[in-house]
Subunit: 156 residues, 2 copies
Amino acid sequence: MDAEMINPFIKATMNVLETMAFVKSTKAGKPFLKKDNVARGDVTGVIGVTGEANGTIYVTFEEGSILKIVSNMFGEEMKELDSEVADAVGELTNMISGQARRELESIGKVFEAAIPSVITGKNHCIAHITKGPQIAIPFSIEEGNFLIEVCLEKQS
Amino acid sequence: MDAEMINPFIKATMNVLETMAFVKSTKAGKPFLKKDNVARGDVTGVIGVTGEANGTIYVTFEEGSILKIVSNMFGEEMKELDSEVADAVGELTNMISGQARRELESIGKVFEAAIPSVITGKNHCIAHITKGPQIAIPFSIEEGNFLIEVCLEKQS
């Protein structure tokens, strides 16, 4: 998977966080190839995609980062990972994948998106059932980290 | 969502369990409309779909039921929800959704499927971010229960 597939996700994430949650301090780390097939975090948005390739996009937040982001979105301090926070993670996942897909479409790579799910549970574990490459992009804000994983495999 | 959309999932589940895991005692309960937007279980396979409608299929197992099913598939007694069991849940989710999609295609309803994820973690919680109806189909075998949830929403 090359940079032209990954950069739209970085750009979409920075943009969504800035416009929706007024978070300007987001730092993107260096994308890396994941080896262990597993996401671990406190809350994860998941959205399936089909089209140019079939796959899944995961956005996994540490509690500190998502509470800050959602507090900013709502203009109200959120203190726990409740159903309102889960809904917000679903919205963020939708917006990030939507903006990234629009940019990918502009270079001729067309994806359709399924509807998102949000997984909560301290230290939940998500196995990605794919033989395709899994690219992870680490992000951080002052209050904590989050990770976007893009798993795509060519249609057989 | 009407019976013609749901019956293919029931038929596919019975068939996959019988042919892959030699489980002939599977009982399907009455499908019902879920109100609470949340899946709770010990291990869940999730697969996104797009096409005729966008949505997500969830297959959530209690520990007892999936250990029996995977033990039968492998011909070896599985005692805990490890990564081999997670892989098997991914395969089962793929096969159930694949067979159901083929049957839906034969009545003119064409879906594409993303790749599955498998969530483990005792009492994990999955919120379905959708305004569409969520149909649940309860199943049981001697060793425990499992539930299939079909959440589909028309494309906007």
